[in-house]
Every structure is written in structure tokens, then in C-alpha cells.
Symmetry: D2
Subunit: 311 residues, 4 copies
């Protein structure tokens, strides 16, 4: 077991590595690229790594299902950090290649829809073939199998390539959210700008019951930030939901909403409370009136007095 | 101060006295009729009486506003018992009076709509004048002011009258609910068939917000048994709500619903948790799945484990 | 049948008559006082009167149950106007009577709680006895049975009394709402500041289902202005609800909410759409986004296009 | 333009082709495999094909994002049919290959998690490399690039391979849902077991508003069968929702729910009403009381009578 090793979705040169390097502690860790999200997370489960950084959501492609499904099943893990990384591509070529000479291009399948318009405009005749990762695409270009690869500009040096074009992205604001995952432990203290992730399974097999689940949050004034349905594997029509809620498990409104879910769902998996990326506590709107910790404490005190007849 | 005196809405011979006498402890108490609901309750507030029995709801006439308003304002009081009494009237006359000789009838204004059809059918020409109470009507008949009075049959002997007709009631199932009210103290332990009464004031001045209040109950699976709006005195359009909910304040689902209300309402007045009349614990339907005390405890334990990272 | 006769809750000199006289058309109608709300309304039902003005709600005492129950049952009637009248009392005495000579006072039972504080402060020893109406109390003072009566100042002249004290009212903003009731007909066109009244019965016999009823309004953005529960007569725990909603039945959001209620309630009684008293169209807040008639029309048009495949 | 050409997600030999061939009309159509979901759908948009069959949801992998996103954007299309196909894999090899000789395997990335356990148990040392499709994997095995491919058993003959092992599937009940997509037209008449698909965008940028959207369905008694969030492309935290609801757009409850959504959402895209696969009308539960077409018609009639004063 290594407390100093962090795994990540490899290979080297991917956006995941770039995201990982935005964390200050990354400088003092051994960073180990893994071939897949499951491999990165299994290393954490087995104790070979202290944590793993994996993508969980992309603003163009949506949820990263491998990550969502790995977190929802198997030995429990918890999220401790999130990283938001703007996604912009460079077209990497072997030094000296000109744009007109690019006949074949590669990249991760997720990259394709993000550069499709650019391709239509600038390389309408180039043939796209998918690679296992953006970095892998770069490697294949270095090895001569393709003429160019879409990848992060930071990957160029690693593979001896040069960025022919940079800042390629069809969608404005394209970004990917990554999470730092570890074995379960007490969540860090709330910062005032926190997020809580859970996966919940429905009691009934019809999604109509989803309304009830959302009301457990709404009645306590907890805002939802993400709701992502995932199949449970029991056939079409059976779903669980990955939910990100505003606030920290130690916030009374969040805690009560979670117990409400726990009571009506056959299973609730707590995935952690952690600081929100890209938001400072000052930017978080105040809780709805009546839902602050002080409001909860005052109401509990009042209830105790009522139970004692001191009304 | 007298721990042995119970006041009630008098005078003697009213349905309220009859209701009071259904309570076993009434046999060992000094029962003191009072001229009004406020007088009966003020005697409790001042310590002159240990408790007061007053009507709170009639199945024909609705809520007894004097009682609702007295409980909602002034020095706090609490409900400890409820009594349901079927309401059926007798036509009381001076001995020897025949039906054909009845030209004037009296009774409490509340009695009138409950005997109106009977009057139309049997005494279409009799003139009705209201009395301050049914018992007072009997007294006025005794004194010769009216020919007949509608009252409980039990009032006949007290006023030297005889019941000419009995079992008069236009509405089937007419009944009145009475409550035994005392100074605030710890509620009796739950029996398994309990009721909790509160008065709540709305945060906003538009009744649309009522939906939010009801959701505090619904999301915790607490059924409502009564919702009665009352003016707050601040002008048309300003209301508070007297609410009876199924369950006991010591039931976790009820306690959490009450704290939810407390947090979003400017004022919540707890009026007590007490056994339901006319229902045995075996007749109470089981709480909605996920809302038993065991479910609450299990969920709280789970939350504590999550907060500790033991997921 | 008389198209020119308006009945009202008499006798002459009551606040109801004062309210009726605020209506411009009252000047050209025969105004007929009736002994009770049912009598006033039955005259309309039978065709003896074109309309009746009756009190429906008092800001101190709450709903006028006789009116609510009469409108909820029997031959249907509809509300065409409402009148809001500030309620302030005068202490009427026979000319020459001084305050110190007032030993007995009378008035309508509803008046008592509105002058109780004043009595405590200024006539602590006076004995109160209730009269059938405020005007009736004035008559009894004229006849020498009581020393003083609480009534509207306007009643003094009619009974040869003089107002010894005026502007008596314990509660600030005390006012009574009256409604002008006629036989069913097409409601007046919307004014932009309208109100719709209905009585609804619940499908289930537990008031928990009330939440569903309120959601029919909420989901269409219709605000509620009044919700008053009334017993159905089928025993304690069985209620119907008198509801006032903002808007006119010809507003699409109101119409759709009403059909929603109609579909899930065993009975819905439409009591009319009529101008709100005391509010001009300019003071009414705009409908919630997405709930204007234009929004409804646009959505219906869109639905028709979808059904035709023109998306 | 060809009214007889159906495109599908190719190449030949995929599960999509197998699904397409379950449709009776496929026998009389020219079936054209396309390299991608966008290509298959663009052929419909351009008029080169009458319809396209594409996968939309997999019970193991979840929503097919390419399909969801293509339907949610660009020139409108509509769904006319759905096909449910059980997914079970065969391990295809060149004739004569024995299991012990399989060192490299391939298949579509989506296939991998569905055969992972089987691989661990039976070919723990085999190296997996993804192919562009299951059928493409079979082609690569034929060409000698890999030793074995996971694909549908039906693909064996097409590529001159033989199924070494069949009925491989880690998950029980694995199935994929396909939809037949055409240019917008009037939906087929309801069958009694129908489904309606829409994509909705939220007014606010916080998913808390999702509760409001779901209430538009719930209040009209419309059950949801699928809710899938997709990024709008405007950055993390901005989602639209693909929703499948029970019923047909011509069902009044569905139509009213859709107009409710249309009124509060900045955009609603109707994707069609079509027969549910795998369910006969007799298996569909009756609509919630009060939500049948008859209930809607009766309520509309009642509303019209109220508007006319015929109550």
C-alpha cells in the first residue's frame, strides 16, 4: 500500500493528468497512469494507491458512465475533491507536417463531437479513426499510423509532436469535471461552498417515484446540481440516480434530506461531501429561510421544549 | 388553586357536561360550569381549575371558533384528552304539555340547523328563539318563557321538564368533539392511536404558501385529520391554521414535521399530543413505509456512519 | 318574482344593510331585510328576489358558517359581487343616558369579541347579553330592555338612539366581507382583478388528500386567497373546503385548475367569478411566467402542431 | 429521395441490424448500414432515407448519448417505433480456432462491460482491444488482426467465422432499446400501450427546478418511464432532459402535461408518440382515477357549463 501514489486515467498526456496536476498535493505524489477508470479505482480499493483522479462529467458528452457505474457499485469509495478543467484541443502532428498533408486524424471518441465542426471546415476530407485515448492518439501519430491527433496541447512535448493548430473546440465553455476518489473516511470539514454526492435506488420500479425523492431535497431547501440516471442492470426501465446536491453532509438540511432518502429508498450510497470547484463560499447563495443550521437547532430546541411541556 | 376542580362550558345540563362525565376521573373532581369557553379556560390559566372541558368541533356546525381562538392566543394551554359525543336532541316541555300546544321553541343557535327539518315536519308554525345554551333554553321553558326547548335528554330531570320527543337529529352521525385542556405539561406517553394539535401562522400573507406547510407533513408521511383556517385579526386574507395530525409528538415523523413547520412559520403553537377518541391502536393503519420510529433511527445511524466515513 | 328586490340579512340598521348601500344599484332596488341568511338566500332561490347580500367572512370571527353552508348545499346559487366593509362599533343609548349609567349592554354575539377589551376598560361591571343582531340590540335598548347596544353608528337614527361612543373596535383592520348572491348565470366578464369561489369535496375521507387538491391550483400558478374547511355532515373527520382563488373562470389557468379539481373530486360546486373588492387591476400582480392566457394559447397551438407532426 | 430505404447504425451484422430485421416492413425495404448514428439520421433529414433505426438505450450501459443528442438538436426528427432486443454475445473465431488459442479479443467498447466477468473466468490472460463496432470486430478477426470477437451470433456467417461460445452476457436481462426515426409527421393513432418522448430544457440553470417539471406530469397522472439528463453544451451544470412518458400525445392527460411543460420551459422538443415494445394494451395499468379521456371531457363540459352559468 502506498499513501503517496495517486492513480489517474492514463495514459500520460491526457486531460486527466492535466487536471490532476492542478492539485497542489500532486507535486508530492507518485502519479500513476492506469489503462481505465476501473483500473484506477481498483488500485485505490486494493490499497495500492491512496487516491485516483478520474473524469466524471463532460459538458459536451455528459456523464462518464464508467466512473458513475464504478462509484455506484463494488467496494465503496468516496469523493474528496473535484477539479473543473476547460477542454480545448490542439491538432498534434509530427514536426514539419502541413495541414494540407493531413489525411487521417485520430483522438478519443469523446473528442470527436467537440472538433467535428472544425474538421468539417478545415479538413473536410480527412478520415477519423478513434483511439483509446487522446494521448494514445498522439502516440499513434508519433508512430506514423495517423497524420494528426486531437489532444491537449500539453501532450505534444511528451510524444515528440508539435501543435499545428490550438484552441480547437466546437462548443464554447467545454469543460470536464474530474473527481479525486479515495477509500471511505470522514469527509473534510465544510468550507461554505460544498457539494454532496449520492447514488439512490428507487423503491418502485417506475421512475414516477422520482418526484418523491426530489421532494426530500426540496422540502429541506437543498438545491440539486446534477441528476443523472443510470441503468441498474436489471433491464430497461430500472434506474438508479447519481445526484449532486448543494451543501455538506454536516449541514443539517442536507443530513435530514439524506435520512429522508435513506428511509424511502432501498439503497442510498453516500459518495462524499467536498468543496465545490470554481466557486468561493462568498459566491454561494444563502440557504433558503428556515434551512440554516441555526434554524434547525432552534427548531429542535423548540421541539424538546414542547415534548417537556414548556411551550 | 384547585387540582381537583374541572371547569366546563355550562350551564349544567349541556352536552359538554355529558361529555365530561364520560371521563372516569370526572367522578372524583369538582365539576364547575362556566358561562363561556373563555371563562372555562381562564380558570385553568389562573390556576383556579386543573382542567377545562370545552367543545372544539361539531360535525354539523364545524369548528367552535371561541375554543379555537382561545387556544391559539393568550397564555398557552394544552389538550390532554378528547371526547366524541353523539348529538341527539330531546324536545323538553313542562310536564303535561302536548305537542300541539307548542307555539314557541328555544335552544342554542347551534342546535337549530340540527333540528330544522324536524321542526318543519312536526312544528311548522312554532316560533324559534335562540337561547344562550341548550340548558339555558330548558331553564327558560321551566320559567314559562317558551313552550319547549331542544336539549340533551339528560337535561330534563335537572330542570323539572319531561322529554316529549327524543332522538331528534336531522343529520345522521351528528357528534361533537370536546377537548380537556390544562396548563402546559409533558404530554402523556403515546398509546399507538394518538393525535397532535398545532396552530400555525404563515410566513407569507397569501394562502398559496399553505401548500408548503402541508408538504412538511406529507414528506414525512404524517396524515392530517383536520385543517381549520382562522383569521389572525390582521384583516381579511390573513389566516392561521388549526391542524390535527395523526400521531404523537414523540413519533419521530411527527417531531420532524413539527420542526419543519417551526423553521418556516413565524409562529407554531403546540397544543398537545393525546389519545384519539373512538379509535383503538389496533384500528390505526401502519405508518407509511419508511416513516416508523425504527426507520428514523436506522436512517440516523446510517447518517452518523456516513459522517464518520464508515459507509 | 321581482327583478328589483334585493334581500339582505336584516333587520334594518345592520352592517349588512350598510354594505348593501355601498352598491350603486342598491339605490334603485327594493331592499328587503330578512331574518336569517337562509331566508335571504331562499328568497333568491324562489325568485322572490333578484339577489341577496349576506356576510360571508369576518376578519375577527372568521367564516360565516350559515352563508358558507347555504352556498355549499341546496339549489345552486352564484356570487356576483363582494363588498368589504370596515367594522367599527358605536355604543348606542337612549338620548341622555350617561356612560356611568350603563349597567347592561347587548349586541350580536359576533360583536362581543370585537368590543371585549373596550368593555373591560370602560364598562368593567356592565353585564353583556347577546341579541339576535346588532340592530336587534338597538331595538331592545329603545324598548328599555338594555341600557346600551353595540351597533353601527348608522343604526342610531333608525332606532331613536344616540351614539355615546363611536369608533369602538378592539382589532385594528376589522372588516367584514359580504357577497351579493343570485341565481346561476353567466359570470360577468373579467376585470383583471377577479376572484373565483368554489366548494370542493374530497375523494378520500382523510384530509391528507388536501395536498393534491392544492397542487391542482399551484401547478397552474393560481394563488389561493381563502381556504375554509366545513363539515360535510357525515361525521367528525369529513370536510369540504370553500376556496377563493385569484383570477376569473375565463382565465385559462383558472379554468384548467378547476377542471383538474373536477376530475379528482367527487363534487365541485362553482360559486362564481367576480371582481375583487378593494383592489384595482393595476394592483394585481402579474401571473406567474407561463400562466397567462397568451402562454396557454401558445402552448395549445404548439400541441396541435405536434399532433400534426409540424414540429 | 428514397421512400424505401431504411438506414441503420452499421456495419452489417450489428445488433442494430438484427433489431431492424424484427420489423415486418424491413423485408420490403432497402437496408443501408451507416458508419455512425449521426450519419444514419442525417440520411433521413436529407431525404435519402425514409427512416433510420438507431440504438437509444442499453440496459447495461445506459443512454446512447449520440442518439439522444442528435434527436435533441438539429433539424427535428420523430420516433415512430421502438424495438427491444435482448443482448447476448457469441465469441466468434476463425473456423478451427480453439479457446486456448485466443490471446487477443475485440468488440465494441459497450460490449466489454457485458462480457468482462466471462473474460475473467474463461480467458483471464486475453488482451482486449476495442473495435468501432461488434461487427467491425468480427471483420478484424476474419482479417487475422485479432483471435476472437464478441458479437451477435448472427454475425458469424456474414464474416465467415464460427461461434465458439454463445449466450455470453454478464448481466441478466441485458437488452437494448432501438428507435425507428423519421421526418416529422402525424404520429400513428394510439394503440392503448404507447409512449411519448420529449426533450425539455429548464428555465432556470439549477436542476432544482426539475421538481416543477416533474409535477406537470404528476398532477395529470402521467407516469414517467425514463428521465435522462444531457448537457446542453453551455457548461457543467446546464442540462436538458430526455423524458419518456407513458401514454400518447392524443391522450388528454399527456397533452395537458405537455402544454404545461411548454409553458414553463424555454424549449420543449416533441420526439413522438409510438407503441411501447414488449407490452400489450392489456398489460398497461388503467390511468389514475380522474385522468382518462372521458374524465377530461366531462370536466371540460362542466367548465363550459359553469362559464355559461348552468351549474
Amino acid at each position: 500500500m502506498s499513501a503517496t501514489r495517486y492513480t489517474y486515467l492514463g495514459p500520460e498526456g491526457t486531460f486527466t493528468e492535466a487536471a490532476l496536476r492542478t492539485l497542489p498535493e500532486a507535486a508530492t505524489r507518485e502519479l500513476a497512469p492506469m489503462v481505465s477508470v476501473p483500473a484506477a479505482l481498483d488500485a485505490v480499493r486494493s490499497g495500492e494507491a491512496a487516491a485516483a483522479l478520474v473524469p466524471i462529467e463532460n459538458s459536451v458528452e455528459g456523464g462518464v458512465t464508467a466512473t458513475l457505474d464504478e462509484l455506484a457499485s463494488g467496494e465503496p469509495l468516496m469523493i474528496y475533491r473535484e477539479v473543473l478543467l476547460p477542454i480545448t484541443f490542439a491538432l498534434l502532428v509530427r514536426p514539419g507536417t502541413e495541414l494540407s498533408a493531413v489525411k487521417t486524424v485520430t483522438g478519443h471518441p469523446v473528442a470527436q463531437p467537440q472538433v467535428r465542426n472544425w474538421l468539417r471546415a478545415h479538413l473536410p476530407d480527412a478520415v477519423w479513426e478513434s483511439a483509446a485515448s487522446n494521448a494514445d492518439g498522439a502516440r499513434l501519430v508519433r508512430d506514423g499510423r495517423y497524420d494528426a491527433a486531437f489532444a491537449g496541447e500539453f501532450a505534444a512535448a511528451r510524444y515528440g509532436l508539435e501543435p499545428l493548430v490550438t484552441e480547437i473546440h466546437d462548443a464554447q465553455n467545454a469543460e470536464t469535471r474530474f473527481v479525486l476518489v479515495g477509500r471511505p473516511a470522514r469527509p473534510a470539514a465544510p468550507t461554505g461552498a460544498d457539494k454532496t454526492s449520492v447514488v439512490i435506488w428507487q423503491r418502485d420500479d417506475h421512475p414516477g417515484a422520482l418526484l418523491e425523492l426530489l421532494q426530500e431535497f426540496a422540502v429541506r431547501g437543498v438545491n440539486l446540481m446534477l441528476l443523472q440516471s443510470r441503468p441498474t442492470g436489471a433491464g430497461i426501465g430500472n434506474y438508479c440516480f447519481a445526484i449532486d446536491a448543494e451543501g455538506h453532509i454536516s449541514d443539517r438540511r442536507v443530513g435530514e434530506a439524506l435520512t429522508g432518502l435513506k428511509r424511502i429508498c432501498p439503497e442510498v450510497r453516500f459518495l462524499g461531501s467536498y468543496p465545490r470547484a470554481g466557486v468561493t463560499p462568498g459566491e454561494v447563495s444563502a440557504p433558503r429561510p428556515g434551512t440554516s443550521d441555526g434554524d434547525f437547532t432552534a427548531a429542535s430546541d423548540w421541539l424538546a421544549r414542547c415534548q417537556d411541556g414548556r411551550v
